[in-house]
Symmetry: C2
Subunit: 327 residues, 2 copies
């Protein structure tokens, strides 16, 4: 690693931990781009992280995730704690950015140093979305935030994994969603520690909550095939994020889950995060190594043989791994 | 690799290529589970694949992807070609399965050997969804299908990547979708070779198509940052999948794109698929190696140090890579 990256990382890390929000934002950009500065900063900051409560919030489009996040921020601030948000944006890295309504809502906190909001594009992460968002959470954790909310859309494999990797995973539903959404819901419920029926003022909210409770009874308790122990089936709450109804109860439930989790479950989430992060870096390192000038020609010719169907991908992988091992 | 896996793979591969649909289904299950049989089969079959036209079909929930796939199947069959479908299912691997309406629609082809439909769960793929679906497509390709349609929901990183890895990527839209969906749309359009406004009989279809054409003019031509050359901006078509309107024109556009692609662009898609597959296998092999009895203790203790924030993930990755290299 270059010395100037280490120096820059030390400067940014110290400033970020001291409360410099611009330095924090720059560090997170470095993390998104997986630069040498990010690596040096994470090497420094990671051992001081591990105190924050990571909360994943996911649900189908239209379930009101961003509105609920805004309501949760308000509730957390009432109690005097600090909160950071990582919003994994379903839109393009190019057209980028959050939706207008949410942007306006979030600007209420523009002057509040105890609130920090960051959008992350959901595509184009070389090391994987889960690894990048976990690294970003570690930076925010080291910077001292009490709660870190990670908001993702609940209709993609990577996006659901991001929320599921948190200490506490909240799955949001809205009343009266369509057929395809019902199918998505079933997949989502598997990762839920808490289920929230949002838009509680709409007709059908109570019925949706009752249906969800029935579904959860039908599927719980889970058998031994789950690598994430689930001590009991998820609680189902009703909120109306737009008015704040039910949000204090949600925060209380999050805190309860955290308290129980400290004794056991959250260590499983932590192990899973550690594993995902380390293996993503191992894979990235290998990829870099295979693309190095010393190996790039071999790598390119092996890949070209696979693209031309003259070599199968397993033999190709064996050949490339042979390169790695023989050096 | 065990000899019995190789024998079983040889049996299944030969039967599948000879037209045995049960053998084909079993091979695809092996591919989903990444078994030794799948590896041996892919080593055999991969060099004979490479002739099929891979078409990715993606779009937001509710845009009518499955209905369009059913209409495309009917159109392809009219022309006498064979077609396989890989439907990457947004629902749970546990609750599993396609939506009821589509299932009924697809049963029309239950007796037609020239049509093969396969659902794949979108979660739980150790080697990554893109790598698994590419391997499944290679098996179907070797089994002789002319077209392979890969249907995914267009709201997740992994799911969009799956469709984008095809030779031709179709992005579906429906008229009059909401705010959050608009943001998703912008991200999706980046991967489109063809854009289809489905539900063309709804009010607003023509306006949506006009808006999309305007958006595509505004963003094209693309600059050099795209690793996938785009010779021209995507065509926008209107279909009504439920009645079949516009479907012959869509198939003709797919064939045109394929014909142009053979000369250039599709080789970029092929290279990307080869690279994704080979690197997924390299990463998987490494993971297996680190979990081997000879290394599992070291791996577990390094990961536990990271989970406990006593070691940063980069140092952990370096330590594990050192193990690999030093053997």
């Amino acid at each position: 690693m270059k010395a100037d990256a280490a120096t820059r990382a030390a400067e940014l890390s110290e400033a970020a931990v001291a409360g410099d929000r611009l330095a924090l934002a720059r560090l997170l950009t470095a993390v998104e781009n997986r630069t040498a500065v990010a690596e040096a900063a994470l090497r420094r900051l990671y051992p001081t992280a591990g105190r924050a409560h990571l909360v994943g919030i996911t649900g189908p489009p239209g379930s009101g995730k961003s509105t609920l996040v805004a309501a949760l921020i308000a509730e957390v601030r009432k109690g005097g704690r600090t909160v950071a948000v990582i919003a994994v944006d379903p839109s393009s890295p190019i057209t980028g950015g959050a939706l207008l309504g949410d942007r306006v809502r979030m600007q209420a906190y523009a002057g509040d140093d105890a609130v920090f909001i960051r959008s992350m594009a959901s595509r184009g992460h070389a090391g994987g979305l889960a690894s990048t968002s976990t690294a970003a959470a570690a930076v925010l954790d080291a910077a001292g935030f009490d709660l870190i909310l990670i908001e993702t859309v609940g209709t993609g494999q990577s996006e659901v994994e991001v929320a599921a990797a948190a200490d506490t995973t909240v799955v949001l539903e809205a009343p009266e969603m369509g057929d395809e959404v019902q199918a998505i819901k079933a997949g989502l419920l598997e990762v839920a520690d808490l289920v929230v029926v949002n838009k509680g003022d709409k007709p059908g909210a109570q019925r949706t909550a009752a249906q969800l409770r029935a579904m959860l009874v039908a599927t719980a308790p889970r058998d031994g095939n789950d690598d994430r122990p689930r001590p009991k089936r998820p609680e189902v709450l009703i909120t109306t994020a737009a008015t704040g109804d039910g949000v204090p109860e949600l925060l209380a439930a999050l805190d309860r889950h955290r308290a129980v989790g400290r004794a056991g479950e959250s260590s499983a989430a932590r192990s899973a995060r550690a594993e995902a992060q380390v293996f993503a870096i191992v894979a990235e390192r290998l990829r870099q190594w295979l693309g190095d000038p010393a190996h790039a020609d071999t790598t390119a010719s092996v890949l070209a043989e696979v693209a031309g169907h003259r070599l199968d991908p397993y033999s190709a992988a064996d050949r490339l791994l042979g390169e790695v091992r023989s050096e």
